[in-house]
Symmetry: C2
Subunit: 184 residues, 2 copies
């Protein structure tokens, strides 16, 4: 039987990343409350959240491959999620300016009844972006993105350099997922 | 670097099963509260519990292979755990007599930062064991075992036949674990 691949995420960026790889998949995601267990290290917390996102979709397609993911920006031991207002985005970007932050994407893959999950970290070093923030906020690109920026858009100029997988910052460590899909 | 294998379980039966396979490992387990999220299907609940058992040990040996497991007897949509008294063991065995029950073992394997988990089911068909229960209870073999019996001991005669992996009933689907360890 040919297994379907289901992306359990509504993120248009994740969808684009998988499409770029020529992977044949459908999207089916359910809303889940994004609460994190603070007593665990960040990678474990995110991994649990990715599993939580994938599980209801796995129950819907129990024989197929279901991919869930969660991406956060981690800075000074704090999770930086999405900004809910322009003012909050402004504050976040000023904090990140001229500093290094980590982007974590946790992935959970159900392959029928086998669940595999991992968490990939990429270090992102920002230039001093003080003078660029105002224009960036005007673009509205900060909306809906962890850390109030999208590395694949206008915010590309914020980045001095990165250490790790750039796709992981966009929202999915595609290379590692492909490795997994090919290894089975 | 050669990775260590750590069995995150104090069960002497699991230890024996891995030893039988000639796998080189150490045992290091932490006590965790065995609470199950009732809103999930049984296999998901157990899988989470196995992960919960393995996670603190993974944090101790972040670069190695850590195996956690949890085994339950499932009968008439109910989880049958360990009996806490001879009387409870007696009741459990009378319920299981002349019926089929399922034994689930969930396994969580950390391999450095990749977590894999699955849940294996074996169907066990008991004969009418009414006349054998009293003697079995005298043996004290029911203590500390899910469903108040151990298939590898005197309770072997309870079994009419099984469908699935017998090792899974003892506490670890060794074959599937070996598959995983060889595939890496």
């Amino acid at each position: 039987m040919h297994k379907k691949i289901i992306l359990a995420s509504t993120s248009p960026r994740r969808k684009e990343l998988l499409e770029r790889e020529g992977i044949d998949f459908i999207v089916d995601a359910s809303f889940i409350e994004e609460t994190l267990d603070d007593s665990l290290p960040i990678d474990e917390r995110l991994r649990q959240l990715a599993i939580k996102k994938a599980t209801p979709i796995h129950q819907k397609y129990p024989q197929d491959i279901v991919i869930g993911a969660d991406t956060v920006v981690y800075f000074e031991n704090q999770v930086i999620g999405k900004a809910h207002s322009r003012e909050e985005a402004n504050q976040i970007l000023h904090r990140l300016s001229h500093h290094k932050h980590d982007v974590y994407t946790a992935v959970a893959i159900y392959d029928a009844d086998t669940l595999t999950s991992f968490c990939e970290k990429t270090e992102v070093y920002f230039k001093d972006i003080t003078d660029m923030i105002e224009a960036y906020l005007d673009s509205n690109e900060w909306e809906g993105k962890a850390g109030a920026y999208g590395i694949q858009g206008a915010a590309e100029v914020f980045v001095d350099h990165i250490v790790g997988d750039k796709d992981n910052v966009i929202g999915l460590p595609v290379c590692r997922i492909k490795d997994y899909l090919l290894k089975k």
